[in-house]
Amino acid sequence: MNARSEGPSRFWRPVAAFGVLVLAWQAAASIGLFSPKVFPTPAQCVAGLVEVVRDGRLFSYTVASLFRVTVGWYIAVLLAVPLGIVLGGRAALQETINPLLQFLRPISPLAWIPLAMIWFGIGDPPAVFLIFLASFFPLVVATMGAVAGIKPLYVRAARNMGLQGSRLVLRVVLPATLPSIIVILRISVGIAWLVVVAAEMIAVKSGLGFLIIDARNALRLDLVVVGMVVIGLIGIVLDRAIRRLEQLPSLGWSLARQR
C-alpha cells in the first residue's frame, strides 16, 4: 500500500485538481473550442446555480431526491441484511435461493420502470421502489457471501461456548461480517444515488433528475450541468458519511489484519 501523505496537502491537492478542471473548461470556452449551445461555460453555470438557489428549487429538489434514496435504501438494508444473514448461514437454503438472486440481480432497475409505474402510479412510490430494487440485490448477495466467509474458527469457538440463535447473530455473525457489510453499504448507496436520478427523469415532478430533464426540455444546458455537479457532490458526501462508520473502534481489527 502506498504511504499516505499527511496534513493539509491531502485536502488541498484534490481541490486543486477540481480547480484545474474548471479552469481548463473555462479556457476551452474562452478560445471558442465549443459553442455554448452544446456545452455551457462555467460562468453560465454559476449564473444558473444562483438562479436555482434563489428560487428554492435546488434545495427542495435535493431534499426530494435524498428522501427517495433514504427511504428506498433503508428498506433495502433492513430486508436484505437479515435475509443475507439467514441465507448465508444455511448452505442448502443458499444453494436454492442464490441462482434466483443471481438471475434478478443483473436486470437493470431501469428495466422495472414500466412495471413500477403501473404498480405504484407516479410520484415517490415508483422511484422508491426502483431504489429499493437497485440496492436490495447487491446487499443480499454480499451479506450472504460475508456470512458464508466468516472464519470457521470463530463459528466453532462460538458453538463451543454454546452461543446460538439471536445471541450468535448479534455477538458473532454481525460483528464478524460488519467490515464487509459496510463496504457493500457504501457501494449500494452509490448505486441507489445513480438510480434515483434515472427514476426521477421518468415518473416524478421533483428531484435532481427531474431538474436535469426539465432543463433539457427548456434547452437550459447550464441547469443540466448544475444538476450533474450537485449530484456528483452529494454522491461524495454520501460516500464520506458511510466511510465514517469504518472508524468504529470495534472495526479496527479488519484494518489491522490488512496491514
Binding site: 474458527l153 470463530y154 466453532r156 469457538a157 458453538r159 463451543n160 461456548m161 454454546g162 452461543l163 445471541r167 455477538r171 458473532v172 460483528p175 464478524a176 460488519l178 473502534p249 470495534s250 472495526l251 479496527g252 481489527w253 479488519s254 489491522a256 489484519r257
Partner: protein, 267 residues
C-alpha cells in the same frame, strides 16, 4: 449418577474415523477409477482419561491427532465406536468442555475483557469468577481493554485460556495451543499451564508434537502412529513437578519417546 471411581472422565471406545474422498470424476487420463478413495484417519482408538489427568497426545504432523481431539470434543462424529464423557455419549460440542485452538480464535471485534465476559455470559448458572479475576489468573491484568490484534501471540493464548476458563469447564481440549509461539514464550506458557492446572484441577487433553513439552507437562503421554492413527505407545509419568526432563527416569522416558517417534534423542 455414576460412581466416579469406576467411570473414567473420558472414555474413547474403539473409535474409527474414515471418509470417502469426494473427488469429482478425475480428468487425468491415467486415472483408473473415478470413485472416491476411502481414507482412514483413526483406526480403532481406545483410551480412558481419569478425572483431573493431563494427557498429552503426541504424533507426527497429519497423523490424525487433531481429528481424534475433534471427535472427543464433539465437533466431528466418529465413523464407528463412541466417546463417553462422564458415562454419557458425546453428541456435539458442549460449553462444559472447552476447546483451545491452535490458531487465535479470540473474537477480534471484542477487547480481551469483552471476550472473557462473553465466556462468562455464556456459562451456565453457578458460581462465577469475574473478568478481572480471570485476567489476573492468567496474568493479563491491565490488558483487558486491548483488542486481540494489539497484544502479543503469547498473551493472546492466555486470553483465550481465560475465556475458556470463564465457562468453568470440566475438560480443556488444547490443540497445539502454543505451536505458533517462539521457543521462550512457549516455555513460559508451559509454566502458566502447570500453575493453572495445579490450581484448578481440570481434566486436560493436550496435543503437541513437542516431546519435551509432553514429558514436561503430562501425567501420561499417548503416542499415536502415523495415519491411520492407532495408539502406538503410552508412557505414565508419575513424577511430581517441577521436573527436569533430561535427568534420571524422566530422561529415560524422554529418550524412549523420541525413539518411538523415530527421532534420535542424542545428536
Amino acid at each position: 449418577m455414576h460412581d466416579s471411581a469406576d467411570v473414567p472422565k473420558i472414555r474413547v471406545e474403539r473409535v474409527t474415523k474414515s471418509f470417502e474422498e469426494r473427488r469429482r470424476k478425475s480428468r487425468h487420463p491415467l486415472a483408473v477409477s473415478d470413485r472416491g478413495e476411502v481414507v482412514t484417519i483413526l483406526d480403532d482408538v481406545s483410551l480412558d482419561v481419569r478425572e483431573g489427568e493431563l494427557v498429552m497426545l503426541v504424533g507426527h504432523s497429519g497423523c490424525g491427532k487433531s481429528t481424534l481431539l475433534n471427535v472427543i470434543a464433539g465437533f466431528e462424529r466418529p465413523t464407528s465406536g463412541r466417546v463417553l464423557i462422564d458415562g454419557v455419549e458425546v453428541a456435539g460440542p458442549d460449553p462444559r468442555r472447552m476447546f483451545v485452538f491452535q490458531e487465535n480464535s479470540l473474537f477480534p471485534w471484542l477487547t480481551v475483557a469483552e471476550n472473557v465476559a462473553l465466556g462468562l455470559e455464556s456459562a451456565g448458572p453457578g458460581e462465577r469468577a469475574t473478568v478481572p479475576e480471570l485476567l489476573q489468573l492468567v496474568g493479563l491484568s491491565g490488558f483487558g481493554d486491548y483488542y486481540p490484534h494489539q497484544i502479543s501471540g503469547g498473551m493472546g493464548r492466555l486470553a483465550e485460556l481465560a475465556r475458556a476458563l470463564a465457562m468453568n469447564p470440566d475438560i480443556l481440549f488444547m490443540d497445539e495451543p502454543f505451536a505458533a509461539l517462539d521457543f521462550m514464550t512457549r516455555c513460559l506458557m508451559r509454566e502458566e499451564v502447570l500453575n493453572l492446572m495445579a490450581l484448578l484441577g481440570k481434566t486436560v487433553l493436550f496435543i503437541t508434537h513437542d516431546l519435551d513439552e509432553a514429558v514436561q507437562l503430562g501425567d501420561r503421554i499417548v503416542i499415536l502412529s502415523d495415519r491411520p492413527a492407532r495408539i502406538q505407545q503410552v508412557f505414565e509419568i508419575p513424577d511430581p513437578h517441577p521436573r527436569d526432563v533430561s535427568a534420571g527416569e524422566l530422561g529415560r522416558i524422554r529418550r524412549r519417546a523420541y525413539q518411538e517417534m523415530g527421532v534420535n534423542p542424542v545428536l
